[in-house]
Subunit: 230 residues, 2 copies
Amino acid sequence: MTRRVYELAGQDDRRFSPFCWRTRMALAHKGLEAEFIPCTFTQKDKIAFSGHDLYPVLTDGDVTVTDSWTIACYLEDRYGAGKPLFGGDMARSTTYFINSWAEAQLHPAIARTIIYDVFKHIDPADIEYFRKNREARFNRTLEEMGAEQAQHGRTLQQVLAPVRNVLAGQRWICGEAAAYGDYIIFGALQWARCISPFPIVRAGDPVHEWRNRMIALYDNYADSVPHYDY
Amino acid sequence: MTRRVYELAGQDDRRFSPFCWRTRMALAHKGLEAEFIPCTFTQKDKIAFSGHDLYPVLTDGDVTVTDSWTIACYLEDRYGAGKPLFGGDMARSTTYFINSWAEAQLHPAIARTIIYDVFKHIDPADIEYFRKNREARFNRTLEEMGAEQAQHGRTLQQVLAPVRNVLAGQRWICGEAAAYGDYIIFGALQWARCISPFPIVRAGDPVHEWRNRMIALYDNYADSVPHYDY
């Protein structure tokens, strides 16, 4: 096998990076196999060869691609004969809006909700790095955010409103079938599901129903790793 | 002329509905002329024939179309030979995410920032309706929100983050040229600009630069109505 993805892993082989899940789903969408190399936060030496210090890193034969969005564009352009991830140039641009929204608004809201659970599941070698980095980012202690989990979970429901409204009118974010816009948002929900027992989406919510359809894709691919059921 | 748009108007012929601006820009994009019929909040009798009580309402010959999103889809399907508003089915679906985001997150943030200025510019006959409806919606008095304008304006900058991030990498929201995704977001900024002197975007911000490009489209179309310059 010549295709490899270097991705974040925690204790008990938990694969919990939202960005890596985007790449996992994009590869599955295109029907492309890959070997997934687990790396902890502090094992960045494993991807030093790429010149980039964030997961995922994709190697495809002689080609190295970094950054989940760039990887999606690479897969779409390189494997254009497969099912489209975007469906045209305008769709690629509007999907990039979803990408940007997820990073600016969805990810911070999920991070606040699950961060203390993440801390409890990371590799022991990462503990010091994670506490220092995340407490500086949010200007709160991990324990404070953990104590506020229910409140952050309620704020997250408001952040998910545009997803909920879209799914009231269509089965997938991208319309008739799941595509990269779906994978961006699903990656964030799968991140939470792989690392935290807190139910960020609940039965009866169209977002929960769509998430279940996403989990079922590609022979229940998202169930193939350690996760919490809710 | 057989095409008419019934749209919201305030004092001094101010045309300040974000939804109506989406329709105005979509018509200009397609090169379609229309007569614009000004209506106040309390002149809903003018659109009673449509069976709908929100502006805009489009009549195109014998066809009546309500709701700005439905109107955009109608124009794209009916006038398919013109420049595309979406660029394919997947792009239509991902653009609908932008539509949903604007209504769930962008519009409330702008409304809080400019609502007291809106109140000062609406038709005198609308004053009682507007105060009662909006104070119930936001659970604050108009005067309270007016006093908090600068604070709401700062919160709005965070809400605009995904727009700002997209525009760091591409000239238009829809990529190589403006299309309906651009008109959705521009409609919200033009709403503010037509009714409030408060600068919700400022020089040096990529969102401000893009907004100026939007204003310049179609022979400075967005400058053809009363507005504030900033």
